[in-house]
């Protein structure tokens, strides 16, 4: 049986059939595109209280009105659902990775038609739109199985970046001050083009794709979730303050709210390679979790 509470879905009972899984994933898409997670809405409401710039207030008001309309009318919050990002954790005794991937792809095709989603996947060789194609990351886990769905707009994807330290044009060295410069530089270059107030995910790794992968999967965390490492938690808080002092504001119209949260993580770097991934999320950070039996 499928239970839905907010943006958390739960399949209960015995191991689900293929059909039940497909239906549950379509439901995930429906919930994700029509209803923002409570932590995001709360952060936007708080931002509206703090803003003094009339244009920023106007913009935030419109966003909050849109959130209400989308929820009550079960309509898509935004026409751009980006490239669906799916993060799977599965217990190998219960589920097979290959089968799960096929199910997710089929569910995405079905959701595109039923929910509906805008067809965003364009094949440059054939020169035509083929529907939607999810990016799926699978990880085996000893714990319980779950599927997480993340939808962020293409505008915010376009302003995301990867840096290599040292970066002489920024004067960024291999230290926290250097990492900070990269993230602030991303904001300066993005301005209002990626739909702020942003959620910022950042990661430092020795390998380029790992830095961008870990930066992006920060968006799976709740905005009000604290970093368990006190040093990194302080770094995130400091950075958020600085980003909001830039005055870019909601949709770049000016104001105090440029970002709602900064999430940072790091892995080991290599003596030759330090990469800083900065993933920018739009204010309409749509995410859902499906817990599997």
């Amino acid at each position: 049986m499928l239970k839905i509470r907010g943006n958390i879905l739960r399949l209960t009972g015995a191991r689900p059939t293929r059909q039940q899984l497909v239906q549950a994933i379509v439901a995930m898409y429906r919930v994700a595109i029509t209803e923002l997670p409570a932590d995001v809405t709360t952060a936007l409401r708080r931002a509206r209280q703090h803003e003094t710039n009339p244009r920023a207030k106007y913009v935030l008001n419109m966003m909050l009105k849109n959130i209400d309309l989308a929820k009550t009318e079960t309509r898509p919050l935004c026409q751009d659902t980006g490239i669906p990002l799916v993060y799977v954790q599965y217990q190998s005794r219960q589920y097979k990775q290959l089968e799960l991937k096929r199910i997710i792809k089929d569910a995405t095709t079905l959701a595109t038609r039923q929910v509906p989603l805008r067809a965003n996947a364009f094949d440059i060789v054939q020169g035509k739109v083929i529907g939607n194609y999810p990016v799926i990351y699978c990880k085996e886990t000893p714990d319980t199985s779950s599927i997480q769905l993340l939808l962020k707009g293409g505008g915010s994807e376009n302003v995301s970046r990867v840096y290599q330290l040292p970066d002489t044009t920024l004067g960024a060295e291999r230290d926290f001050a250097g990492i900070e410069k990269c993230i602030l530089d991303t904001m300066i270059k993005a301005q209002g083009r990626g739909c702020p107030p942003y959620s910022i995910g950042a990661a430092v790794c020795g390998s380029m794709e790992e830095a961008s992968y870990r930066a992006k999967n920060r968006h799976l965390l709740l905005l009000n979730q604290h970093n368990p490492n006190p040093k990194l938690a302080a770094f995130e808080r400091r950075l958020l303050k600085k980003i909001n002092a830039l005055g870019i504001g909601p949709m770049g119209v000016g104001g105090k709210t440029t970002a709602l949260a900064v999430k940072f993580t790091t892995r080991y770097v290599h003596p030759a390679s330090w990469f800083v991934g900065v993933s920018v999320g739009c204010w309409s950070m749509r995410r859902t979790t499906l817990h599997l039996p």
Binding site: E73, Q79, L184, Q191, A245, V253
Partner: protein, 187 residues
């Protein structure tokens, strides 16, 4: 914020009344164009666009039989069209562009005495869908429905003027100010 109502197609006079920072509410027709449409428009003469209001948007819709209902229609990032726009403004006498995130210096200059750029609220797609009363026609569907050129009838479509016909750009002011703050952080 002053609120200025404009019926489309707008007169040059009505556009010149608007100052950066005003709320502008459009009623009438708007035309959408995205990446592929821009290239095509510059190579052809597309009558319905002359003197029009252009909206950077690729709507999401539902079709039942021949009826198309717009479900969500927020703006897309305007900066992607910076390099096409001065020529487009000239060729079609575009009086207003509605989009998100702002446009560059060449567009600001092209609009002086001619037209303005207004920010629609990115992601407020249901709100804007409510302001669309009718899909009048969809042109160039061979580009795919997202990239097609949609002629839409709108009623009370709210945006904020960010670049007026006198050459003032609020986006530019925000960018300059934020860069100055950034420099105090990094030097």
């Amino acid at each position: 914020m002053a609120v200025i109502k404009i019926n489309t197609p707008p007169t040059l006079q009505s556009i010149r009344r608007v100052q950066a920072g005003d709320e502008v509410v459009f009623t009438g027709r708007v035309m959408t164009a995205r990446d592929r449409a821009h290239r095509w428009l510059l190579e052809h003469d597309f009558k319905p666009l002359h003197g029009a209001v252009l909206y950077h948007c690729g709507p999401m819709y539902r079709q039942t039989g021949k009826t198309i209902t717009i479900l969500a229609a927020g703006p897309t990032t305007s900066a992607r069209f910076n390099h096409f726009t001065p020529q487009l403004i000239k060729q079609y006498n575009i009086r207003a562009i509605l989009g998100k995130g702002g446009m560059n210096e060449t567009v600001r200059r092209a609009f002086i005495g001619q037209g303005m750029y207004c920010a629609a609220i990115g992601g407020a797609a249901v709100y804007y869908a409510h302001c669309i009363t009718e899909v009048v026609k969809v042109y160039k569907t061979d580009f795919g429905m997202t990239d097609a050129i949609w002629e839409l009838a709108v009623k009370n479509f709210p945006v904020v003027c960010m670049m007026d016909s006198r050459g003032r750009s609020l986006f530019q002011e925000v960018e300059t100010a934020s860069t100055a703050v950034y420099q105090t952080f990094t030097t």
